[in-house]
Amino acid sequence: MPILNIEEIFKILPQRFPFLMIDRVTELEPGKKIVALKNVSANDDFIKGHFPGNPIMPGALIIEAMAQAAIILFHSPDEPSSAKKPTYYLSSVKVRFLHPVLPGDQIEIVIEPVKVITQAAIVNAEARVKGQKVAGGEISFMAKEST
């Protein structure tokens, strides 16, 4: 059973098609740990151009999926979904890619905080397919109130 289904994810993440990189949240300890899923499909918009005849999920979008999972990890559950969402800015990414991710793969993303302050965080991120680590590292980001 999902902890958060796609409708609930819509309420938290500001991203939309074709840039929503999380399909489901299967584990969530707010502020401590999240496990989220991204199902990669031949129908994904980015596959069309990356690359014709050789479909691979772009590493940059795996980072995006990690960042989106991190946003969910730190969102405050009490906040009404109508509240104005902050804008999130990545500030540093140190991620290593170990295996290509292909259509049909289900990426399991695990995020755990390294250091959290009021408006920013550094998190440890790992992406796995069938239990095998495909990418991992550290990302830092901040949240700013939207104007």
Binding site: V114, K115, I117, A120
Partner: protein
């Protein structure tokens, strides 16, 4: 203590993408070395990880030069030792 200074200097140099030689005790991180607030957070997190200490968020604003950073590290290390005795 000399060791702590050179270790912390290396942490700062790596995050600010500078040569350790450029990090003088009084060089101002923001004005002279181009640090921004997220780099400050990274320096703080790197020190926490290396020395297994907890540095409170309020100390971020005090991360202004090498001497100030060393003072924070020493203070937090001392606190950690006291907690163990």
């Amino acid at each position: 203590m000399q060791e702590l200074e050179s270790e912390i200097k290396n942490i700062i140099a790596e995050i600010l993408e500078k040569d350790p030689e450029e990090i003088k005790p009084e060089s101002r991180f923001i004005e002279d070395l181009g640090m921004d607030s997220m780099m400050a957070l990274e320096i703080l997190a790197a020190m926490e990880k290396k020395y297994k200490i907890a540095i409170p968020e309020e100390k971020l604003a005090a991360l202004t030069n090498l001497n100030a950073t060393l003072a924070i590290a020493r203070e937090c290390l001392a606190k950690k030792q006291n907690a163990h005795t």
